[in-house]
Structure formats: C-alpha cells, structure tokens
Symmetry: C2
Subunit: 242 residues, 2 copies
C-alpha cells in the first residue's frame, strides 16, 4: 500500500468564525493531495483525461472527527488507496496533529466518469495498478441514510455561483457541505462541531440552477438533502458540543 503525505498549515481563510478549519477546506486539501499522489506515480488527472477521457468523481464521504485542525496549526495529511472492485475505488485520508494525535479520517468512494457521456464506467485494472492496491469482489455497503422529516425541516435556497464551478464543469463537491449546514444557523454552528459526517452525491449540480437545502434535526443528529432537478445529495451529521 502506497501512502502519500504532506504537511499543511491552516491559513486564516480556511478557518471559520470559531478558529476551526472549515470542513469544505478539509475535503479540498484531501482531494488536492490525492491528485498530487496520482501525479507522482504517473497517473495524473490530465493523463486520465487525455488517455481515456475519464475523470475521478467522489460519490461518498464518511468522516470521523476527533478534533478539527485549528487556525495556524501544522498538520500532516496522509492518503492511500484501500481497495477497488468493478465500479468503486476506496481511498482514505488521515489528518494528524504534530504530536501524532489522529485528528480525523475521511473515507471516500470514487468512481470513474466518462467525461463525454457523464456516465460511470468500469474501473480498468491498468488505471489502478500503479496505486498497488487489491481488487476485491465485495462492494462496501455505504451508509444507510434516514428519511428527512419533511414536516419539521428547515429549508433555504442557494444560488449556484460561477466560483462554485470547477474544471469538471460542475459544482465542486466541497460546496455541498456549506449549503447543507448553513440553514442550521450561526448559534447552532458555533455551539456544535461535527463528529461524524456521511455525505452521498447522487447527481451533479450544474451552473444556472438554484438549489434547495433541507435539514431536519433529531437531537444531535441532522439529516440533509440538496434538491434542484431531483435529489442531488444527502447527508447525515452527528454533532457534539464544542
């Protein structure tokens, strides 16, 4: 198993009002790292595009957070591919404090998308071989999401902005989290921090639409949905007092 790692110091602009590193920034830094990992072993995103016209797309995150990195803190982020099967590739990212304390883990499920047809394609062994990772037949079961309680949910509309769109031509996947948690409001978001996050991308969001973010809350567990033309993403977040 190949591990790729990098140090990172949390800048001002990746920190929220509480001085914690923002969750979308965690995901950004994580995905940037695996992009560099792929580049370093000769299977970069550019190579994938030029050779097959494919791109990697995250379909699900599961995060376990012991503590969020803090503004000015220097952390180490590690990533490694875990296994793959016919359609899915599994990769973890682990964030460590300078003293070696494990801060959080992000487990991800990737698929390969054909850029032209926007459809998921089979994982070719030759694309994955350089990661030195085992092919498994088993498909890992994703998180089972609860139904959103539509009778008591909070909802808010968000515009998709130009700067939300990435070079894949759709909304960057880190943006969904902001839409999901923002309706909870300042008081909630400065009292609680996420402890577990399960986030599933169902359908990409393109430029030009407004999305509806809906949240229902049951104690310290919130259920989230992003809707525009149908359901685009869903999530469950377990919170704890800051």
């Amino acid at each position: 198993m190949l591990t790729y790692k990098k140090k990172y110091t949390v800048p001002y602009y990746e920190s929220d009002a509480n001085g914690n590193m923002k969750v979308p920034s965690l995901l950004n830094v994580a995905l940037q790292l695996s992009g560099e990992h792929s580049f370093s072993i000769g299977v970069s995103d550019d190579w994938l595009k030029e050779t097959y016209n494919y791109t990697w797309v995250v379909v699900e995150y599961a995060m376990e957070i012991n503590r969020l990195p803090r503004f000015t803190e220097t952390i180490t982020v590690e990533t490694f591919a875990k296994s793959y099967n016919k359609f899915f590739c599994y990769r973890d990212y682990v964030f460590y404090a300078e003293n070696g304390e494990k801060l959080l883990t992000v487990s991800t499920t990737f698929v390969l998308l054909d850029i032209e047809t926007r459809k998921v394609v089979r994982v070719l062994d030759e694309i994955v071989a350089p990661y030195k990772v085992d092919k498994v037949s088993k498909i890992i079961r994703g998180h089972k999401y609860q139904e959103l309680s539509t009778s008591e949910c909070i909802e808010k509309i968000y515009h998709v902005r130009f700067n939300d769109i990435d070079q894949n031509g759709h909304v960057n996947n880190s943006k969904y989290f902001d839409w999901m948690v923002d309706p909870l409001g300042f008081d909630f978001l400065s009292t609680y921090v996420p402890e577990k996050i399960y986030l599933k991308y169902v359908k990409e969001v393109l430029y030009g639409v407004d999305i509806l973010s809906r949240v229902s809350r049951d104690g310290l567990v919130t259920t989230h949905e992003i809707n525009a033309t149908g359901n685009h993403a869903q999530a469950q977040i377990n919170w704890r007092k800051k």
Copy 2:
C-alpha cells in the same frame, strides 16, 4: 523596506472553471502572507489584539492584472509595507511567475480598527516601526468610483453564510468579490478576465443579512455595489477578452 515572500502552487480548489486562480483566492493568499510577515517580525495579529485590542482591516484594493496564475502553476508572492500616515497604511503584494514575469500587483490600504468600538483609530508609530516604513503626511487619493447606472443594472441577492464569517466576526473581505461579479453570469465570466480591479469597503457586513449585489456595465468596464443596511462596498472592474 522589508520584503517578505513565499512560493505558492495553485491547487485545484483555488482554480475556477477556466483554470485561472480565483480572485478571492489571490486576496486570501496575499493577506495570509502579510499576516505571516507581521508574525515574523514580532507584531502578529494576536500581539496587536492582546496589546491594544486592535485589528488590521483592508479598506481598499487596487489590482493590476497582466495574467492570472493558472492551476498547478508555482508562483512567488512578495509583500512589503510602502508608507503610512495618521490613519492609513499602504502595502503592496506582487505575484511573479517562475520565470520572473510579473503577473499582478495588489495595492492595499489598511486601517487599524478598535475591536471593541469597531471604530478606526490613529496609527501608532510603535505598531508600524518594525516594518521599517516611512511616515508620510500625504494621504493617497483612492480611486474615484463612477455612479452605478441604476436604470440598467443587473442585481442579485446573496445570503451571508456561516462560512463567510471570519474570526473578526464579519464577512471575510474576499467574499465581496464573488458577490460582485457573480451576477455577470457564466458566459461573461468565461469570456472576459479582469485587468484592473478597484474595490472599496465602506461598512462591514455581519451575519444574518441578505445582501444585494448590483452591477452596471459600460463596454468593458463594470461598476459594482453591495447593499444591505446602506452601501457596504463598491468596485470598478476593467475587463479584457480572455
């Protein structure tokens, strides 16, 4: 004159749909650098807060852009304090390509804000002395902004989100630019790039409000205003074909 500099490689998540580094990201990286500069000479933002309960606030930007940095490009960012007077401190940031080509310059005007009263205070010599910068009596004239043509402007409402708020308790100044240019739409923003940007902050935006972003266009010059409780910011941008 003390110059502080740092290399920076443009990550995926700081790049827009065209592969250019986002303007808000340029401002973020710039301000982070001067924060590190201050820290390195013993007058950090924390020191300023603990000693005087003051904070630095940008009141105006003037940017000249020859070329925006590109995704994966490694650039060098330099910053230095230029001069100061009773109320204003002037600082430049210069972005260079690896071959030494000057990409862009950001000229900024800072004031010191009393955190408790939220009022601008006089610049104390002892705060500025470590930057080894000249005190001048002259107040540099800011850009003269055109009136917005309200009869033909495009306007759009944006929510202030939790993750727009920084540790100063107000909207991070890099967010205004997104609000300002977004109403111009995808086609405009993927056809033109900014060449000159003048941006003035009039009044801070706090959490809980919706802002109205208004833009009027006269050829390749756009005029912008951010309104909520009065006028919060204004800008002029000169564009050129990409």
